[in-house]
Amino acid sequence: MNVSPGPGGLTCPECGAASPAQAQFCGQCGSAFPDPAPEHQWMISVPMLNNRFMLYDLAKLLFWTGIIIAVLMFVMLAAFGDRHDFLETYLRIMQMFGYVLAGFAVLFLAIMLLFFGNRYRTGFTIDRNGVGWSSLMSRTKWANRAAVVAGALAAKPGVAGAGLLAESQEQGIIEWDEIRKLKFYPALCTISVMNSWRVVIRLNCTPENYPAIAESLKRKATKAAVQILGFMLALFVASGGAWAGPPKPPKPAGSGLNFFSAEAERSMGRRYAEQLNSKLNFVTDPSVSGYVSQIGRRLAAASPSPSIAYEFRVVNTKEVNAFAVPGGFIYVNRGLIELSQGEDELAAVLAHEIGHVAARHGTRQLSKQMLLQGILIGSVAAAGAKSKKWGDVAAMAGTIGTFLASMKYSRNDEYQADALALDILASAGYRREALVRFFERMDESARRSNRAMNFLALVSTHPPAAERIKRVELSTGPVPRDLVFAAPPEFASAKTLLASLPAPPPNRDVTLSAALRSVGLAESRRSEEAAVPGCADPGPVILTRDFTVAGSTVWLNTGLNVASGQTVSIETSGEIYLRKDSTVPAGPDGVPGTGKGFWKPLSWADTGALLARVEAGENKKTVLIGGAASFCVPFDSALALGINDDNNFDNRGELQVRVTIRQRGPQ
């Protein structure tokens, strides 16, 4: 078969089609091209005793043999030997093996010298397939065959196996795509060819052909490596790799796991909003509420979900806060507006809340928790089927895992809302830097009011301001501290009006946070612990009972059974101490500013505050009472009282508690 090279490669002798130079088969008819002449082919005799690589290999062989024997002997002696003279026996055995290994070393050297005459002749080939080698020592071949035959005749499989193994090494090839590393020793005219874990062959070159062979190997091995990399890249792209190929369009906001349709979300949000609206006091002056709605609508039009019918309300409370209820109900506190300096900053907060709504964080969060709870219940059931203890362990692990997982999602949600806010602000014509400036302002405000916002960053749903600023500044670039935003007349007049507006009376100052907790819309982990609003019409008192709750009480069973629809009013007095050596007492409201701690019954409520719990089987509701509070009993249950602490046992003091139960209609 005659193969004539085409301009860029080979011409098929069967069909005449052109193929690349490296092709092994014709791309047209599939005929195999004969192997072309090797690029390099040479033979060389290398001295054995004077070859550092051979001596190195011999030393390595003996060293590892010694190590393996040492370990085996140690284990065997430790298992079966006499402990009394363990070390002495071990050293004696190892000394013996040392002599044996030294004997082997001498034997190997003698074989190299006497049997091989200190010369080993090898032929090497470099062609399109790879690097090939072949032993040209006829005495080696004979010796290997003799070992096989002798081993078979003497029924010594070890000898026969060694012969076969040596025979298999008489020639071989390492293909280009197997070569992972080349090591060059130009002074010795030697090249080590390695696969992923060992030296496969050492190419002994002559001083004449070394430069050409080294160059050829470098070129071909690099080409093979590039081909492998390309193949892996192709695989990665095919499997959906994110960084290969053209950039994929970003996921639309709101995509992801969500068990709720948009309609269901809106409907659910409306129910929550109605509950909130009944709790909160709003600023109704159109120069404020209308202005905020106007900014909100401008932002909503620029958001990824302009079709949602957003509603914006200004809550009359000094608390610096804003909140978005799923479905597009956005609440901004008066305190937040008063804090902001310029319309852009206010817009930044609203854009962030719109981002939450557009990304449907509320229902997505709920869906994830439902999924995790489902997995948790399944795991606990499966583990509990094995043993109660394992069930408990699984339940505990699952609870913590679910909690942490949901917190992670919440933080990511915040980052996503920030990112969306940046886009919305830019699209709506506001300055994106305002978001950074507002974070800084909130951080300063929090520091001034001595509320550590960054505390417990791990379990907080809101990431630390510094971290959010850092992330946002990746998009905006550094934002100068003295950057001032435009304050149009509408903004100024809104602020003036708010400044002139009297503060709500204390009994009517319902903060957004409190209202959210009361409707169970604050962070999801608090939902089952939120205060229950009192019944609309409590009715007359049907029972009054006094109790003493010791500070060390976890839960005190009052023995009172309460019925659904009854109103329980609790008044508390007295002092407790949260440590045995503490001299600072805490009242029934607990220690102010200690509203954190994962292991407390109400993690968000102040430590030491009085709690009430209604419990009927699996149904439980824990209510923060503090000095005085009323709540409507949601279901027939038993009433218990307790102290909100994660370690009650070192508490001192006691609280005097009066429980009054009211009920409408005949008892």
Binding site: S45, N51, R121, A187, C189, E208, P211
Partner: protein, 354 residues
């Protein structure tokens, strides 16, 4: 020559170390105080074994039916047969010294091992008893003999194979400390002696040379020391030169020769100078000016190229085989630049044209 000297020094140090390591006195004498009462009880006392074999039962039968006499009679009987007449000197202080040493006191305490005080045969005053001890040993092969000095009995033990005795190591191998010095000194000199060939030269790989030198020295020392270890003393080993010791030392000589071939490799080098080449060999170096080179041809053996052959204008040829040589590319480069040789894929010869 320096390379031969280097290896000879290494071997000499190793052999000297082996010699001193195994060097031990040909014989030793130990002295102790005999306990005849204990020995009498051991020999003639009642056997109190719960179970006795035929031998023990026989001995018990003889004991019951013969009269060994008392301890004093036993002592007399023992001394009679192996008694060495004490010299006329007063040796009371020496016996006191022995008594103190056996209690772990005095300067002779370091000579004590297993309740015996060891002496070299030439040490005084033991040397006075040596003829008598040897006479007893020569007469009936008794290793122990007795004397009475200053009214006290002494028992001598003759150790013709001291390495099997319990003698303290410092007496048995008194020159072991020297062995280390010889060994370390030889190794230091091996490395400190100047090299015959410089690093930049075309030369043999120094790492295998170093490894083989030390492997060779170890093997040679092993075969040199084997007779010293096997025999009772170095002197005995030397006396066995026409026996096993001689064979072992022949192997040593063979390995030494191999090391000399290593010296040949270590001494070989080709250095490119301003005017030509300096060819270093075991017995000296030689300058070859470029003008002396008439031509260079490859040395081919079938399809294999082994190196280059320098053909001098005088008709002399110098083979430069490149197997095992480092930096040979330097020579190729020089020959190529000077126009003497150009690498060819097939055996070819490029003669000088000027």
């Amino acid at each position: 020559m320096i390379e031969i000297l280097r290896r000879l020094i290494l071997l000499a140090g190793a052999f000297a170390a082996a010699w001193f390591w195994f060097n031990s006195p040909a014989t030793l004498i130990s002295v102790c105080r005999p306990d005849f009462a204990k020995e009498y009880e051991r020999k003639y006392g009642e056997r109190k074994y719960a179970f006795m074999g035929a031998m023990e039962l026989g001995r018990e039968f003889i004991r019951k039916n013969t009269d060994p006499g008392g301890i004093e009679q036993f002592r007399k009987r023992t001394l009679e047969s192996r008694f060495i007449q004490p010299p006329a000197r007063d040796l009371g202080r020496w016996v006191d010294e022995i008594d103190a040493a056996l209690k772990g006191q005095g300067s002779a305490a370091r000579r004590v091992a297993k309740q015996q005080v060891f002496y070299l045969p030439e040490e005084s005053p033991v040397d006075l008893f040596v003829p008598g001890i040897k006479k007893v040993y020569g007469g009936a092969s008794w290793l122990n003999s007795y004397t009475t000095v200053a009214g006290r009995d002494l028992e001598f033990w003759y150790h013709p194979e001291p390495r099997d005795s319990d003698a303290p190591a410092w007496m048995l191998y008194p020159q072991r400390a020297q062995a280390w010095i010889w060994k370390l000194a030889a190794i230091a000199l091996y490395f400190l002696l100047p090299r015959a060939v410089r690093k930049q030269s075309v030369r043999h790989d120094p790492i295998p040379i170093l490894a083989l030198d030390f492997a060779g020295a170890s093997i040679a020392t092993f075969f040199f020391a084997l007779p010293l270890f096997v025999h009772d003393s170095n002197t005995a080993a030397v006396n066995d030169i026409f026996g096993g010791a001689g064979i072992s030392w022949l192997v040593t000589a063979f390995v030494v020769l191999l090391m000399m071939s290593n010296a040949r490799r270590a001494a070989f080098g080709v250095t490119v100078t301003q005017t030509g080449l300096r060819l270093s060999r075991l017995l000296g170096s030689r300058e070859i000016a470029f003008s002396q080179i008439g031509g260079i041809a490859p040395i081919d053996e079938g399809p294999e190229r082994l190196g280059l052959q320098l053909r001098l204008t005088t008709g002399e040829t110098i083979d430069l085989e490149w197997a095992g040589l480092m930096n040979f590319a330097v020579l190729l480069d020089v020959f190529s630049r000077t126009g003497y040789y150009r690498a060819a894929p097939t055996p070819a010869r490029i003669d000088r044209h000027d």
